[in-house]
């Protein structure tokens, strides 16, 4: 990772918290039915200028349909889409101020790279000189100057991805839609490209809306993520909030790895919640906001990296502590994940960063261990 130039520093950016900022894209109670199947079910969302927004969810959750409605390939069955203050109802794709980068890239196989990039500009009937200049600029931006005269089938996957990107941004749309833009690349290239896309978005000052099923991709790039399930938004939050404050079990489980410990709320006093849990056989003490009242069933959600693992018992083994046997160890390289079978029958995972270079770990299979955590390391979920 030597002389790699880094893009501009990303500053704090949160127009969605500012009631005076005007959204660039307004999705108002949009529904899309295909026959009897509801792909998108009454969703509303504002996306702001210069935002990098991710629609995240498993396949079939409606994220692609929602994006296709923004592009104009599908019309909403109900509701309204407004882009830049203009209602998009009945406006065909070629008249919308958005461009799309397709999952398959959809490069025109009978045109070379240059012609592909120039396509949209030619359709706009720009002067020849301006088209040539813009194409050169785009080629430089995606570092494909030497490949201008190649046909798509003579390029590698990564190069094709860049051509598709260059073609989509050549018209300088207000909004760029990206449908699984990195899906076809291998892991290493994908990680590099994520940061390149981020830099590019900053540089161009464009609004990006990306559809992905890959949570890492969404977490790395997006300013905000909308997690979708069965045609609806489950949660719309910035990545860190999504990870640290999931609002439902679905989101907690979908983003990263998590332990969900079932219990019953015994007390909820202004952010201090106490649960009785059969899973740990003790009390769970949490500092978090939750609507759960005394007597409610709830789940304590704890990320594996926030649990400590020890051979020695803590001072108070009855609170925020679980006892069990190491059942399996997943060595990932940077971390090791310990799967612990609890005495009460359940199981928990704890992950520990491998900070020292020893092959023999002090805790191994069959060891009796204590898992502990602090009151503010997890959240309480009721659904």
């Amino acid at each position: 990772m030597s002389a790699k130039t880094l893009g501009p520093v990303r500053r704090k950016f949160a127009p969605w918290d500012d009631p005076s900022s005007k959204p660039l894209i307004e999705i108002r109670q949009v529904t899309k039915n295909f026959g009897s199947f509801t792909a998108v079910d009454d969703v509303s969302l504002n996306i702001y200028e210069r935002e990098f927004f991710a629609l995240l969810g498993p396949s079939g959750c409606g994220k692609t349909t929602l994006m296709r409605m923004l592009a104009g390939f599908e019309e909403p069955s109900a509701g309204q889409i407004i882009i830049g203050g203009q209602d998009m109802a009945g406006i065909p794709p070629h008249k919308r101020p958005v461009n799309m980068m397709f999952q398959s890239y959809a490069l025109f196989p009978h045109m070379n790279v240059e012609k592909n990039i120039a396509f949209g500009l030619e359709m706009d009937k720009l002067p020849k000189g301006e088209i040539a200049a813009r194409v050169q600029e785009m080629l430089k931006l995606v570092k494909l100057e030497q490949f201008a005269h190649r046909k798509p089938h003579q390029l590698s996957g990564g190069q094709r991805q860049r051509v598709a990107l260059a073609r989509a941004i050549a018209k300088r749309p207000k909004v760029l839609l990206l449908d699984e833009p990195l899906g076809a690349l291998d892991k290493k290239l994908r990680e590099e490209t994520q940061f390149e896309l981020l830099d590019l978005q900053m540089q161009l000052g464009m609004t990006f809306v990306i559809v992905t099923h890959d949570q890492d991709e969404a977490m790395t790039m997006a300013d905000r993520i909308a997690v979708m399930d069965k045609g609806q938004f489950v949660q719309i939050s910035p990545p860190a909030e999504l990870y640290e404050h999931p609002q439902t079990k679905y989101v907690a489980d979908f983003i990263g790895d998590i332990n969900l410990l079932e219990g019953r709320v015994t007390k909820n006093e202004r952010g201090r919640i106490t649960l009785d849990s059969d899973v740990t056989g003790g009390v769970i003490d949490v500092h978090a906001d939750s609507s759960a009242g005394a007597g409610d069933k709830a789940w304590f959600a704890l990320r594996p990296e926030k649990a400590a693992i020890s051979l020695l018992p803590p001072n108070d083994p009855q609170t925020n502590c679980a006892h069990g046997t190491v059942w399996d160890i997943g060595y990932v390289g940077d971390i090791s994940v310990y799967h612990v079978r609890l005495d009460q029958g359940g199981s928990m995972r704890a992950s520990i960063a491998n900070t020292s270079r020893v092959v023999e770990r002090p805790i191994t299979w069959e060891d009796k261990v204590y898992l502990t955590w602090t009151p503010d390391s997890g959240v309480v979920l009721t659904k």
Binding site: P93, V98, A106, F108, G120, D124, A168
Partner: protein
């Protein structure tokens, strides 16, 4: 390893052997007859040289004695030149008409829901289940003066008197259009069907209307299918004999018909052979273009 190499050689040799036995050898026989002179005998020609008996005897002398008369006649007797030109014209115009007819059909098939596409393809090739000859005879009964078409038009009051359609060039065009349509539709369909829908969407996204997207993306990408279809129709249509013979009249001049008359009516085998060899040479150019088009398509994949 050795055995495998051997087997591969056999597999490669089979098509070559087939071509040698069923194409090259008969062609050489035709070539030989074309250099002979006519005889009233059985067979009705006297060979200029006999490949079996005296190949190497006085080869030079024999070559000088070759009868080029048959070929000279192709140029001196205007019926041959006219037949060739008329064949090329009829085949060319009907190929073009067929392209305009077949493209919308193929496009419609390729845009149809995936589930019904096999049925549509089936419907296109269904006529092949009936003999070609029978289908052409059926057209006689449709096109004749008391035929289905004329009686329909008369009963509808569109025309007062039955028209002369059978035994005209119009009937030949109808026959060719009908018979060769599947050969145009299928290559077009296969070119259009494998096209990625997202290409059209991308074109629209970049500012094309539906119509512009068709002309800038769909059509250019279907050109290999257009070329394949045109040649698959044009090449056999040039040499077509059955359709001009059964549906055409005395005005219809096509080289296949001329050759048949030369062979069976005039029993002039050498002249008929010369016509056949010349036809092959005429068709060599489109065949080579067709081949190179196919090769280029293979490369793109």
């Amino acid at each position: 390893m050795f055995a495998r190499g051997n087997q591969r050689w056999i597999v490669t040799a089979i098509p070559y052997a087939w071509m040698l036995v069923f194409f090259l050898v008969p062609f050489l026989i035709v070539l030989k007859i074309s250099f002979s002179s006519t005889e009233i005998a059985q067979p009705p020609y006297s060979p200029t040289f006999d490949l079996i008996n005296d190949v190497w005897v006085d080869t030079l002398e024999k070559l000088q004695a070759l009868q080029f008369d048959n070929y000279k006649r192709l140029f001196t007797d205007s019926i041959y030149v006219e037949s060739y030109l008329s064949s090329l014209w009829i085949a060319g115009t009907s190929t073009l008409m067929m392209l305009f007819l077949a493209y919308p059909i193929a496009y419609g098939m390729a845009r149809a829901p995936k589930s019904i596409r096999p049925t549509l393809v089936m419907m296109v090739i269904l006529p092949f289940w009936t003999s070609f000859l029978i289908r052409i005879y059926a057209w006689i009964s449709i096109l004749s003066e008391e035929g289905l078409l004329n009686s329909l038009l008369v009963s509808l009051g569109i025309i007062d008197e039955p028209m002369q359609i059978l035994s005209t060039n119009t009937a030949v065009y109808i026959g060719i259009l009908y018979s060769y349509l599947p050969f145009m539709v299928l290559p077009l369909y296969s070119a259009l069907e494998k096209m990625d829908d997202s290409l059209i969407e991308a074109a629209k996204d970049l500012g094309c209307t539906q119509f512009q997207a068709f002309w800038r993306v769909t059509f250019p990408l279907s050109i290999p299918g257009v070329i394949a279809g045109c040649f698959l129709v044009f090449i056999p249509a040039v040499g077509e004999f059955v359709i001009p013979d059964l549906l055409g009249g005395s005005e219809t001049l096509m080289i296949g018909k001329t050759m048949w008359e030369e062979f069976f009516n005039n029993r002039d085998w050498p002249a008929a052979s010369a016509v056949a060899v010349a036809l092959l040479i005429v068709l060599m150019i489109p065949i080579v273009i067709f081949q190179s088009n196919e090769a280029r398509q293979q490369e793109m994949r």
